[in-house]
Amino acid sequence: MRSNLQAVAISTLPAKRAKRTGKTGSSVYLKTVMAVTGIIFVLYVLAHMYGNLKLFAGHAAYNEYAEGLRTLGTPELPRHGFLTIMEIVLGVSVVLHIYAAVTLWKRSKTARPQRYAVKKTVVQSFSSKWMRWGGLALLLFIIWHLIEFTLFKVNVGSGGQGAQVTQDPFELVVHTFDTWWMTLIYLVAMAALLMHLHHGVWSASQTLGLAGTPAARRYWKLAGLAIGVIVAVGFIVPPLFILFGVIK
C-alpha cells in the first residue's frame, strides 16, 4: 500500500529515499544510550560524594572507608573485586556516552550547515548551552583526577611524593587541597558538573519517557537542578575545609 503513495508536495528537488538507519544508528536510540549511561554516572557521583564527606569523620575513619571499598564483597569477591567491576561498568559507560554524544553532535552540525545571521534563544538554559564543551571539560578533568588519585597517585601539594603521603588516602587528599590552585581547578570542575547534571538529569527523564506531563516536566527540571547543586556542593565542601585548614 505504501509503495503506491506519491509525494504530494511540489518540489523542485528530487525526493530523498528513506534509508533505514537501523536500531543503533537511530537518534532516539543514541539519546537513550546517553540517558542510561548518564544515570549510571549520577548514581556513581552521589556515592563518591558520600565517600568524600567521610573526610569530616577524621583520618582513621576515612582510610577505613577507603580500605572498606577495596574489601567490599570479600571473601566472595577477590580484594579490589567490587571496585574493578565498577571501573569496568563506568569505563564502558564513558565510552558509550562519548560515542553517542559525538555522533549526535556531528549530526546536529550537518543538520544546519548554514547558521543564522541573527539567532535569539528564548528558553534555552545556560546549562544546556554548555553540555558539549562542558562535557569535554569534564572529560579532561576526570582524566587528570584519575591520574592524580587512582592511577599514579601524584601529590602536587606539600609533603612530597613519599609513600607516607601518596599511599595514605587521607594524607593525599589533604596535601592536594591545601594547594589553592588545585582547589580552584576542582571548584571550576564542580561548576561544570553542576551544569551538566542540571540539564542532563532533566534530559534523561525526557528521553526515557518520564516527563509526560507539564507537572512532571517541572518536577524533573527541578530535580536536575537539585541533584546538580547537591553533588557540586557536597564535592566542594571538603576541599574548601582543607584549604582553610579546618580538616588537616
Binding site: L13, S26, S27, K120
Partner: protein, 247 residues
C-alpha cells in the same frame, strides 16, 4: 512607521545568497508582517526589481505555509505564525533581519522560500492510520475518553510550518514528529500501527538529515500552535517500547 529590512536574497537552490538591505516607509501598526513584505514587493516591482519570494497561503494562521526567521526568532517575537504577526510588535526605526528556515533538510529554493517536503515524507512514512474507505463508522462505537480526545486534538493542531526545526539548535524535527505520534497515539484508531509508525517516522526523520533532540525546548517556545515538549517525551517512550517488541 519606517523600518530597515535586512532580507536574505538567493536566486535559486544553487546560488550562494546574501543579505540585501531595504527601507520601507509608512508601515501601519495594523499590517501583518506579510503585508509589510507586500508593500516592499510593490515598491520593488515599481522600480523594476525582482520582488522578494516568500511562502504564504491562508494568511489566517491555520495553513502553516508561511514561516520566516525574523530577527533571530521563528515567526518573530509573538507566539503566532508570520502572517498573524502584526507590525505593532515592532518599533519605528527598527532594523529587522529576515532569513529563511535554516536546515539541510529544508533547502532554500529562492530567497525566503524553503522546500519542506521532508515533513511530508515523514508523514508518508507512518503518520497516518490505515482504514477502509466507505461509509463513516458510527461515532459512538469507539469511545474515546475526554482527556485523550483533548490531547489528541491539541497535538493535531500542528500545521507543519517547520518553526520547531528552525528554532532548534540541532535542527531537529522531533516536535513535529512527536505531535503526530501523540495525536494518533491518544486515539484507539491509532493503536494497531502505533509501533511501526514511530519506528518508520524516526527512520525517515533521521534519513532526511534532521538533527537529534537535546531537550532544549526552543521548539515548543517557537511553535505557533503551542505544541508542548512532552510530545517528544512520548515519542521517545513509544520508540523504546516499539524496539522492545518486534520492530
Amino acid at each position: 512607521m519606517n523600518l530597515t529590512l535586512k532580507i536574505w536574497r538567493q536566486s535559486g537552490p544553487d546560488d550562494r545568497g546574501d543579505f540585501a538591505t531595504y527601507d520601507v516607509r509608512d508601515i501601519s501598526d495594523d499590517m501583518s508582517f506579510l503585508e509589510m513584505l507586500d508593500v516592499l514587493n510593490e515598491d520593488l516591482i515599481g522600480k523594476g526589481q525582482e520582488p522578494v519570494a516568500f511562502d504564504s497561503d491562508c494568511r489566517e494562521g491555520i495553513c502553516g505555509t508561511c514561516g520566516l526567521m525574523i530577527s533571530g526568532q521563528a515567526h518573530g517575537p509573538e507566539v503566532t505564525t508570520t502572517c498573524q504577526l502584526h507590525m505593532r510588535s515592532f518599533s519605528d526605526g527598527e532594523t529587522i533581519t529576515v532569513e529563511p528556515w535554516r536546515a539541510s533538510s529544508f533547502p532554500v529554493l529562492r530567497d525566503l522560500v524553503v522546500d519542506r517536503s521532508a515533513f511530508d515524507r515523514i508523514i508518508q512514512s507512518g503518520g497516518y492510520i490505515s482504514v477502509n474507505t466507505g461509509a463513516a463508522p458510527e461515532a459512538h462505537s469507539v469511545p474515546v475518553p475526554k482527556a485523550n480526545a483533548d490531547r489528541a486534538f491539541d497535538t493535531a493542531t500542528c500545521i507543519g510550518c517547520g518553526a520547531c526545526v528552525a528554532a532548534c539548535p540541532n535542527a531537529s524535527g522531533m516536535l513535529f514528529m512527536g505531535a503526530k505520534i501523540a495525536h494518533l497515539g491518544e486515539l484507539p484508531q491509532g493503536q494497531p500501527e502505533r509501533d511501526s509508525r514511530v519506528v518508520s517516522m524516526v527512520n525517515q526523520h533521521d534519513a532526511e538529515g534532521f538533527g537529534g533532540c537535546t531537550n532544549i525546548g526552543e521548539c515548543a517556545a517557537a511553535c505557533p500552535k503551542e505544541i508542548p515538549l512532552d510530545v517528544i517525551n512520548q515519542l521517545n517512550k513509544d520508540f523504546r517500547k516499539a524496539k522492545k517488541g518486534a520492530h
